[in-house]
């Protein structure tokens, strides 16, 4: 099991900045979301070597690209080219329901493109059961706000562990202290005991935490002010106002 970083945590960052941020925090994987600022897109995939170069730079840094998350607006053939060049899986997301996404994923798979379906919400286990019967992998978007993390993890890992491509976790990073009692300990414990060999990709749970993520990733004022490594330790989302007199 490894942790990874979603481009959603730094939606205006280029790929090299994402690679640096992931490396800095020991997160050896990236999930790229279509529409973020990394420049990896279906349009760009038409430029020879452009995308393969990205894959090579990530690999050189020891970062795996665990998936490319599409929005539903992309063309199948373009996605296939992109996924092949990145050597990654297309994660089928969109405004539609799980059924529609499954149809899309099946189409991509039939054409030889590696694909998985993003599942979220209360029907994740039922949806995953259906998809695993069809031989389609799933990406589980684990949201602490749902407060069902432990239960869903248990069901997915016990019933169809092979179908779980990776977990997209809405939290971690600067949000770690916030989600007390939401079952994150249980989630990570179950993943560990099940020997889950996939990735847990970290992303913000809400756009309102973008600044906190940006800071955590070291994207603000990285140089100057005398510190070799900026001390971000005092920035926390739910920090009480009283700080100690000793440092």
């Amino acid at each position: 099991m490894r942790l990874g970083l979603s481009s959603e945590a730094a939606p205006d960052a280029g790929v090299d900045e994402l690679i640096r941020a992931a490396t800095r925090h020991g997160l050896p994987a990236l999930e790229l979301r279509a529409g973020d600022g990394h420049g990896v897109s279906c349009d760009r995939a038409a430029v020879p070597h452009a995308i393969a170069d990205v894959a090579a730079r990530a690999a050189a840094a020891g970062i795996g690209i665990v998936g490319y998350r599409c929005t539903g607006a992309e063309d199948d053939a373009a996605l296939a080219t992109l996924a092949t060049a990145l050597r990654t899986t297309v994660i089928v997301d969109g405004d539609d329901d799980a059924e529609a996404r499954a149809t899309r994923a099946a189409r991509l798979l039939a054409a030889g493109t590696d694909a998985a379906v993003l599942l979220r919400g209360g029907t994740v286990v039922d949806d995953a059961r259906r998809l695993s019967r069809e031989g389609i992998s799933v990406v589980w978007e684990a949201n602490p706000a749902d407060a069902t993390l432990g239960g869903v993890a248990r069901a997915l890992l016990e019933e169809f562990p092979a179908a779980l491509h990776h977990v997209s976790f809405l939290g971690g990073g600067p949000e770690t202290v916030m989600h007390e009692g939401r079952g994150i300990g249980e989630l990570m414990g179950r993943l560990a005991l099940a020997g889950f060999g996939g990735t847990v990709v970290l992303a913000p749970s809400s756009p309102r935490y973008r600044v906190a993520w940006s800071t955590w990733l070291g994207r603000h004022g990285g140089s100057g002010c005398g510190s070799k490594v900026s001390d971000r330790s005092l920035i926390a989302l739910s920090a009480p106002s009283a700080a100690g007199s000793a440092s």
């Binding site: 099991m1 020991g26 770690t176 020997g195």
Partner: protein, 78 residues
């Protein structure tokens, strides 16, 4: 499914970290292990293991920073 058991505690809220670690250890059978992943040296945890599970655990550093520490924690064979 017998992949390596990895418990990455970096995303776990502070109050749940140690209970999760000890709960995971409790589920190990003798001879089994898991790899603890953290963003700093978990030495205070080791002291807690020394007092609460003296002689019954193994502790082996696989990686020691600068970004990530990985420790293989095992339940010693009976």
């Amino acid at each position: 499914m017998s992949d390596q058991r990895t418990l990455d505690v970096r995303v776990i809220p502070p109050r749940e970290k140690h209970p999760t670690i000890f709960q995971t250890f409790a589920e190990l059978k003798p001879g089994e292990a898991f790899v603890l992943v953290n963003d700093h040296d978990p030495m205070p945890l080791r002291y807690q293991f020394e007092y609460e599970h003296k002689g019954k655990f193994g502790w082996s550093y696989l990686e020691q920073g600068p970004a990530v520490w990985r420790v293989e924690i095992s339940r010693t064979a009976a």
